[in-house]
């Protein structure tokens, strides 16, 4: 029998703080579509980046058609016939569609002059093939999200790869677009291309793949062969496994809080193209979870609640006081703070030390009579929270950049705790955080909730919502489509995931 198109053997990869891959094997035959599924941080994207030559594996071997290869950089991957569409499309916004599609693959006449005409035709052809009409002379920054995604796909298709990696390409697309894309993918498959498909919408995946690789904690834990019998539930079960260590003991489980004091109330809150008609009420000492996929508008909703962005219309009440924040400061003054999902870009000053980062928002309260910083007090406070949140750092004078993801995340939370806010918005509390730290973060969030703080938690990982929240709102395409209470029987991972991952709801934004 012939050699597989692509064969990965025992691939390992570690990043500072987290082991992304711990011994992955993968086989991709000609004319097959292999899907990679798994919860966030399971290692899917890391693997595809390794195949695409973005960074090398720490150990392990890669064979293409039986030949062992080392993919030192993207150009090599391209020559080996690997095309990839990255999770966040990496395009040069300042350049036109053609220029992006042909970036570093330019066609030339007599090896010097660019063949602009040909490139234009080619790129139009590719786009047409993908079923989109985009003015190829437009600057990419002027395109819609969907169009950008398409350009990224076109970029990868251009080299007529033997192996095509599609990393969560369907996220921003609507049903029609997805169906069309799938038709194309199938054609490609039938022409003998090997395709690695990474996605969240299980129905899609079952529909399109020849085999499904399930990832968990940087390992592939099983392979499923789609068929009428194969249900989303089975896949999900395999995705989740039984990793008790992430679950809290029953005693610590959140319980419906008694007092029903309103702290936050939203009426028809909307922002053009991001979310619409959000209605809900948050009570004191309550934790509400928001479940949804990337791009479902939850992040933007949270941002509007602290005033990082402004909402277009609708009403927002904090403790029955109507508000509309113009900048984050307003939000904080009103007692609302957000733990953003990108702590490095939006949460921390990496070049400063732990105490600076914890105290930055609360300096006002750390002054002595002379209006100078009371360093003693500051130190104590910082120490206190480092203790309370069991942040692992040699000292509070350690630079944040030297800490692991989990501890960095804790510091961002500590910042708001020190500020003593009533409402804390947490977007992806455990992104890029290893298993153990996750657990601790849940505990401390719960703890705050029990101290009467109100929490809004957003996460693609349902388990953590189940751990923390009293009820979970499911958001798809910027709308709340369902609400699940702790005391109802749907309050479990499978049911919620199947709502999220079901293909019935699509982005209209």
């Amino acid at each position: 029998m012939q050699e597989p198109l692509l064969f990965l053997k025992n691939i390992h990869k570690q990043f500072p703080g987290v082991k992304a891959l711990r011994g992955v094997d993968l086989t991709l035959e000609k004319g097959k579509i292999v899907s990679l599924v798994g919860t966030n941080g399971a290692g899917k994207s890391t693997l595809s980046n390794i195949i695409a030559g973005i960074y090398p594996p720490d150990s392990g071997e890669i064979f293409i058609e039986g030949k062992s290869v080392t993919i030192s950089d993207p150009k090599v991957a391209e020559q080996l016939g690997v095309g990839i569409v990255h999770q966040e499309p990496t395009l040069a916004l300042n350049m036109t569609v053609v220029e992006n599609i042909f970036l570093n693959k330019e066609l030339t006449r007599n090896r010097i002059l660019l063949d602009l005409k040909k490139m234009k035709q080619e790129s139009e052809k590719v786009l047409e093939f993908l079923g989109f009409q985009i003015n190829v002379d437009k600057k990419v920054e002027e395109l819609t999200l969907v169009e950008k995604e398409v350009v990224a796909i076109a970029q990868a298709m251009l080299v007529k790869p033997r192996i095509l990696i599609l990393d969560e390409v369907t996220a921003p697309l609507n049903k029609g677009e997805v169906d069309h894309l799938f038709k194309i993918i199938k054609d490609l498959r039938n022409n003998g291309m090997g395709i690695i498909f990474i996605g969240h919408k299980l129905q899609e995946i079952i529909e399109i793949s020849d085999s499904i690789m399930v990832f968990r904690d940087g390992k592939n834990v099983g392979e499923l062969i789609p068929s009428e019998k194969l249900s989303e539930k089975e896949v999900i079960a395999l995705m989740l496994g039984v990793t008790l260590n992430e679950d809290l003991e029953a005693g610590e489980k959140a319980s419906e809080s008694e007092q029903r004091e309103e702290v936050l109330n939203l009426i028809n809150l909307s922002k053009q193209g991001l979310y619409e008609n959000i209605n809900f009420t948050l009570y004191k000492g309550e934790a509400v979870g928001f479940a949804g996929l990337k791009g479902s508008g939850i992040t933007e909703l949270f941002q509007s609640l602290q005033g990082i962005i402004t909402f277009d219309d609708g009403e927002m009440y904090v403790k029955t006081r109507r508000v509309k924040f113009k900048n984050p400061k307003d939000g904080i003054d009103a007692g609302i703070g957000m733990v953003t999902n990108d702590r490095q870009k939006e949460g921390l000053a990496l070049t400063l030390d732990v105490k600076e980062n914890i105290s930055v928002s609360s300096l006002k309260y750390l002054l002595n009579k002379l209006k100078l910083i009371d360093t003693k007090l500051l130190k104590d406070k910082a120490e206190k929270y480092v203790q309370a949140l069991s942040i692992k750092t040699p000292s509070i004078n350690q630079f944040v950049q030297n800490l692991s993801g989990g501890n960095q995340q804790k510091i961002v939370i500590a910042k708001w705790l020190l500020k003593n806010l009533d409402i804390i918005l947490v977007d992806e509390p455990t992104r890029g955080v290893d298993v153990k730290a996750k657990n601790e973060i849940y505990k401390l969030l719960l703890n705050e909730k029990n101290n009467g703080k109100s929490l809004l938690v957003a996460s693609p990982e349902i388990r953590e919502l189940l751990n923390i929240c009293d009820r979970i709102l499911i958001v798809i395409g910027g709308r709340i489509v369902a609400e699940v209470h702790r005391n109802t029987k749907e309050f479990n991972e499978e049911d919620i995931l199947s709502i999220i991952h079901s293909s019935h709801h699509y982005n209209t934004a």
Binding site: G53, I54, D73, P74, K75, V76, E78, H86, T90, L91, A92, L93, N94, M95, E99, N100, F102, L103, N104, K105, E106, T108, I112, L113, L114, L116, N135, K138, E141, E142, T144, Q155, G273, T508, A509
Partner: protein, 340 residues
């Protein structure tokens, strides 16, 4: 619905872009009209010539600077290169030709021979300095502002050491004045050179891979790297070209004044940055067109010319120039925000 709004936005963007793109040209015309009104001799032949040669000298520097700014860097050393290039070139060719027994400097400071070699060396050395800037920048990861500032000090010091402070006469050097003073079909050769360089750069950026490399390096380095582009290499290239442009500009300068002096070009680095910015090149990298730079250098040179024709004291000139820089920078800042 969604698609409608998109296309609508598309239209409005186009119209804003149109205004934005042609703003400079409008301003240029406005200036020309002003010039004609304010001074009868503005359109006089020799006045135009003197505008054109300044346009060449500053324009060349600005083009180089623009290339560097397109890859999201900055070059403070161009002015110093203008002096160091020729001085080092002459010192070197003096040594080289001395071997073959030809003495190219007589009377202490009269250059009389070896033009070809000197010209070649000027271009070579200038480009080399540029490359050196680039290499230090990318290898040692030192901000280009610092690298080129240091280089500025180093070069201007070396210029004095090499020349001993003498300005060198090129008056007795066969063909030295050709570039700066001759005209073909009543068009100054230096201006033809400038246009050639300008057009060449524009064409190269548009019709060869180089353009895509440079714009992607400055626009989104990550994307460039992901598609396998060696961004470091292209930064070095940009610096090299900037040095080269400075070298050419130095040739024009020296040929015009038929001399080489230790202070020539001092302070020009800031002017070249100013021109690039007026021309719409931003310090964020990857945005703006060389065409804009060329128009901008015309705008600046003509403006200075008009101001001196109407006989304004230098004090006020500097103020006006400053205001123009701020104005231009804010205009571009605004128009970019409106498109976003």
């Amino acid at each position: 619905m969604a698609s409608d709004t998109a296309s609508f936005n598309g239209k409005s963007i186009i119209s804003i872009k149109f205004i934005k793109d042609n703003m400079l040209v409008f301003i240029l015309f406005l200036e020309l009209i002003m010039g004609v009104i304010l001074s009868p001799v503005f359109l006089g032949k020799s006045n135009i010539y003197s505008i054109l040669i300044n346009l060449t000298i500053f324009g060349l520097l600005a083009i180089g600077q623009s290339l560097v700014m397109l890859v999201k860097e900055i070059d403070l050393s161009v002015g110093a290169i203008m002096a160091f290039g020729p001085i080092a070139a002459i010192a070197l060719s003096k040594k080289i030709l001395a071997v073959s027994g030809t003495e190219i400097i007589v009377g202490g400071n009269y250059v009389v021979d070896g033009l070809a070699l000197i010209v070649v060396l000027v271009l070579f050395i200038s480009a080399l300095i540029g490359v050196l800037n680039g290499v230090i920048r990318v290898k040692a990861q030192v901000p280009s502002l610092i690298v080129t500032l240091g280089m500025l000090y180093v070069l201007s010091g070396l210029s004095y050491i090499l020349s001993g402070g003498y300005s060198l006469y090129l008056t007795n050097l066969e063909g030295a004045k050709w570039l700066g003073n001759t005209k073909l079909a009543s068009i100054p050769v230096n201006f033809i050179l400038f246009l050639t360089v300008g057009v060449l750069v524009i064409l190269v950026l548009k019709y060869t891979k180089v353009g895509h490399r440079i714009y992607s390096t400055g626009g989104n380095e990550k994307a460039a790297i992901y598609s396998g582009i060696n961004t470091k290499f292209w930064k070095v290239i940009a610096f090299g070209l900037s040095g080269l442009c400075a070298g050419i500009s130095a040739l024009v300068y020296s040929s015009r004044l038929e001399s080489v002096e230790t202070i020539q070009g001092s302070g020009y680095e800031l002017i070249s940055i100013a021109i690039a910015v007026i021309g719409g090149i931003t310090l964020e990298g990857g945005r703006g067109k060389i065409f804009g730079t060329i128009i901008a250098s015309a705008i600046l040179c003509i403006m200075l010319n008009i101001l001196s024709l109407v006989g304004l004291i230098a004090w006020y000139k500097t103020i006006i120039v400053g205001l123009i820089i701020i104005g231009a920078a804010s205009q571009h800042a605004f128009s970019r925000r409106t498109t976003e």
